[in-house]
């Protein structure tokens, strides 16, 4: 299953809630959620822990827009819009944690 998150981990608890509930599979961080997978963010440790249970993808254009393209944590995989489409197509279903 694919889980999509678009909120900053330091602005509300959406990502935390996703990580608590989701059974495993793929997580795609887009929009303000990309900050969660950047080095030095206080959510970094929780994100690193999540890598043990999930495959974590991060939308590169959203990293670039925010000036943090060079700060992606190790273990997270950057994807472009084509990669986004592939993730959606290759998973049986998808939940957007709005």
């Amino acid at each position: 299953m694919l889980h999509i998150v678009n909120k900053s981990p330091l602005a509300n608890r959406t990502l935390e809630n996703c990580l608590r509930v989701a059974a495993g599979g793929d997580i795609l961080l887009i929009e303000d959620a990309v900050y969660a997978a950047t080095k030095g963010n206080s959510f970094e440790q929780q994100m690193t822990k999540a890598l043990e249970k999930f495959k974590v993808y991060v939308l590169q254009p959203d990293l670039d827009a925010r000036g943090v393209g060079d700060r992606l944590i190790a273990g997270a995989t950057p994807v472009d819009y084509g990669g986004f489409v592939e993730l959606a197509a290759n998973n049986k279903n998808c939940q957007s944690w709005l």
Binding site: S8, A11, D32, G40, S42, R66
Partner: protein, 123 residues
């Protein structure tokens, strides 16, 4: 314009730059306020500090890259930019990561500065 009509305006920016329209709208209102010769301060708190991050490139998400505008504020006599230290620390950012020169304050100093304003506008 006489001094009596000048008020202390503070704009409090607490949202990351591209996920919502708040940051861009705040900039628009700041520029309007500056045109009325008011005492304008900009504050960047929480995810708002991300608005000032260097090297923002919005080509890939096809939106306006308004981050260079922060560098132009000086030209509109908007020179008081305050950033909270705790917010920078929580995001692994330092002053060197920011587009413009700012004054870094601790939470308590920020709260005191906020309390002395005539008008506080929240974004």
């Amino acid at each position: 314009m006489t001094d009596a009509t000048v008020k202390k305006f503070m704009f409090v920016n607490r949202k990351a730059p591209h996920g919502t329209i708040y940051a861009l709208e705040a900039l628009e209102v700041v520029l309007i306020t500056a045109a009325f010769d008011q005492d304008v301060s900009l504050v960047f708190l929480d995810d708002g500090v991300y608005q000032l991050k260097k090297t923002q490139q919005t080509k890939g998400i096809e939106t306006k890259n308004f981050s260079p505008t922060y560098r132009a504020l000086d030209g509109y006599d908007v020179e008081k930019l305050y950033v909270e230290k705790e917010s920078l620390d929580a995001r692994g950012l330092s002053e060197d990561d920011l587009l413009v020169d700012v004054i870094v304050l601790g939470s308590a100093e920020m709260g005191a500065l906020m309390a002395e304003q005539d008008v506080v506008l929240s974004f």
